[in-house]
């Protein structure tokens, strides 16, 4: 196993490329999570379920004969309003409260979504076929589906658009101001309630984009949400809030890790290894922080 890199260079390369293309998608979801965490101080367990819901939107477009790639435009629009609705119904009541309350409340939303999707769309594993074909590299040893390249490209485009929007637009500035100091922003005339709703809506829209891309590239299933939440949480704690290059890098790193775990341990341990990695990262972080604390003593 140790010599995988040298024995099978093509498999290694394949795993790396797959992982990086996958990681870009994770980074997009994680960016949404970092946004709402930073602005509203909320950890949204339902993040993954929003992703899956976005995926189903694209899948249904595919079923009705529209090319699923258009889901990239349609899903975020629908998901934006879904996000605002969730905010108005639930999240605005837990924003100022204990973080655990928000975790539990969004856990409830997650279970609700999971089951509603199960009713509405059935418990089958589905994918929207984009018909993009594949790209062969290195004498046909490395196979890259074009849909993966497409999805990575679209994610990067959306991320760049969002960064520019956050920098330049009025709402973006209001969001950043609220993230820095909600009270001060309120005093200076920012309607924080609106900012929160918009933040949650933008986050849901990002999830919608990612979901549409996932339904093209991989498969979706009503119960597959939680791993996406955990992945994005992991990326955010590794990268830190508001560190966009960090989010991109750790997203890709996670993607590569997953592909290797898939090759080495087997597909049945793939999700398990992601969750285990989360535990390890948190424990590592705890020991690192505690050393810092001891130093201060």
């Amino acid at each position: 196993m140790d010599f995988l890199v040298f024995q099978y260079p093509m498999i290694t390369l394949q795993a790396c490329l797959d992982g990086i293309l996958l990681g870009v998608l994770f980074a997009l979801i994680a960016y949404g999570m970092a946004l709402q965490w930073g602005v509203m101080n909320i950890i949204n367990i339902a993040q993954g379920d929003l992703v899956i819901l976005g995926g189903y939107i694209a899948y249904f477009m595919y079923l009705y004969g529209i090319h699923p790639a258009w889901g990239v435009i349609v899903a975020p629009v629908i998901m934006y309003f879904v996000g605002i609705a969730i905010y108005k119904l639930v999240i605005n009541k837990v924003v100022d409260r204990d973080l655990f309350i928000s975790i539990l409340a969004t856990f409830g939303i997650s279970i609700l979504f999971m089951q509603l999707m199960n009713f509405a769309f059935g418990a089958d594993v589905v994918l929207a076929n984009s018909g993009y074909g594949t790209t062969m590299l290195f004498d046909n040893n490395v196979v890259l589906p074009n849909s993966k390249i497409f999805s990575a490209f679209i994610s990067i485009v959306f991320a760049i658009c969002l960064v520019i929007y956050m920098k330049k637009s009025k709402l973006g500035r209001a969001i950043r101001a609220t993230a820095q100091n909600a009270r001060a922003a309120k005093i200076l005339g920012v309607d924080t309630e609106k900012v929160y709703a918009a933040t949650f809506g933008i986050n849901a829209a990002l999830c919608g984009v990612a979901g549409a891309l996932i339904s093209i590239t991989f498969t979706i299933h009503p119960y597959m949400g939680l791993p996406y939440t955990i992945r994005s949480f992991m990326i955010v704690i590794v990268a830190g809030l508001g560190n966009l290059p960090g989010v991109a890098m750790s997203g890709m790193g996670l993607g590569v890790f997953e592909e290797f775990a898939d090759y080495i341990l087997g597909t049945e341990f793939r999700i398990g290894s992601v969750f285990l990695l989360l535990v390890l990262i948190l424990v590592y972080r705890r020991f690192k922080l505690s050393r810092k604390r001891e130093y201060l003593k």
Partner: protein
């Protein structure tokens, strides 16, 4: 004290008579006992210590697998048992069954306690939401990994030994009911006596302000680990009983069922009132009645109802039933209230 004694005696007598009064609900009553045990022990570190864990399901599932494995492995080769699936290749005699169950329950209680002690130092150093998410990850990871291990049945599940034929058809239900009921009584007595010691005050100090507690000279880490170990002990025990009761263990749907049981524990404790002795018991009872009613009459929509229930409880009743009662009748809880103060508050409203 006298009044309490009558209350306890009444509950005990009711508990002992229940399987004969409601013979059709024996399994439900046993599950209720297990749920109360889970909620009460979740409350030790969730309510009293302030460490909201989604990961007690880890100990529950561990206990379930361990109890069943020991029960089988003591007499028959485990690998062949799981390979044969549900078919009864080997049959336990009554003596073997009860011996295996007894040893299995001891192992199911002790090993999770040790596991909690071992991982406690690294996990309990996390604070707040990091702890919650980390334990959530731990529970799900355990489920995914145990679903890939061949010897305990992997994805196809593990059939626990069927109850031996001891003459009466009712014996199985009665055995499991009394097993879970006495576990509940044992848990209640243990938790009650823990709550009357200094240990509870230390846990509350950790909940209220951990840094301050540490500054006051309390070795917080030691007590946090002990608190978690107590939780793990009873969770493992409950898991072992539940495994025998359900008769079939599946890695993600029965044992490490973070989506159901793992959330139920938290929800029951919150519904009843975190950080009280009776809260989780009341919460678990109400929750179980509600759940069974829903499961029976609205089959298929139960998880939708569960999701809505979680959101509603968390948003509107974060203090739970006991917390609400406490606010309404503070005198009953031994709090001295100044009448003037109360009136002033009412006027302010």
């Amino acid at each position: 004290m006298n009044k309490n004694f009558i209350l306890y005696a009444a509950i005990l007598i009711f508990g002992l008579a229940a399987p004969f009064l409601f013979p059709a609900f024996k399994v439900q009553l046993s599950i209720l006992c297990v749920l109360i045990v889970l909620a009460t022990t979740w409350n030790i570190q969730g309510g009293e210590m302030g460490y909201n864990s989604f990961g007690n399901i880890l100990f529950y599932g561990l206990g379930m697998y361990l109890c069943a494995s020991v029960q089988v492995g003591m007499f028959f080769p485990l690998a062949e048992w799981t390979e044969s699936g549900g078919e009864k290749t080997f049959v336990h005699t009554p003596t073997q069954f009860f011996q295996g169950m007894a040893v299995g329950l001891v192992v199911a209680a002790v090993v999770p306690t040790i596991v909690a002690g071992l991982i406690g130092y690294s996990i309990l150093g996390l604070r707040g939401h990091y702890f919650a998410i980390c334990t959530l990850g731990l529970g799900v990871a355990a489920g995914e990994i145990s679903g890939g291990i061949e010897i305990i049945g992997a994805g196809q599940g593990f059939t626990t030994p069927p109850f031996p034929n001891v003459g009466s058809l009712e014996a199985r239900g009665e055995f499991f009911y009394f097993l879970s009921f006495f576990t509940l009584v044992f848990t209640f007595i243990a938790v009650r006596s823990i709550y009357s010691t200094r240990f509870k005050l230390i846990l509350n100090a950790i909940r209220d302000n951990e840094d301050k507690a540490e500054a006051m000279g309390i070795e917080t880490m030691k007590y946090k680990i002990i608190g978690w170990m107590i939780s793990a002990f009873f969770c493992g025990l409950a898991g072992g009983i539940m495994g025998g009761l359900v008769g079939y263990i599946d890695s993600t749907d029965v044992a490490f069922d973070g989506r159901e049981m793992g959330v139920f524990m938290v929800l029951m404790a919150i519904l009843g009132g975190k950080g009280t002795l009776w809260g989780p018991i009341i919460g678990a009872t109400i929750f179980h009645i509600f759940k069974e009613g829903f499961w029976t009459f609205f089959l298929g929509w139960q998880y939708v109802a569960l999701g809505v229930l979680i959101v509603v409880i968390v948003i509107y009743f974060p203090e739970g039933i006991m917390g609400w009662l406490r606010e309404k009748y503070p005198e009953r809880f031994g709090e001295v209230v100044d009448e003037k103060d109360r009136k002033a508050q009412v006027e302010l409203k």
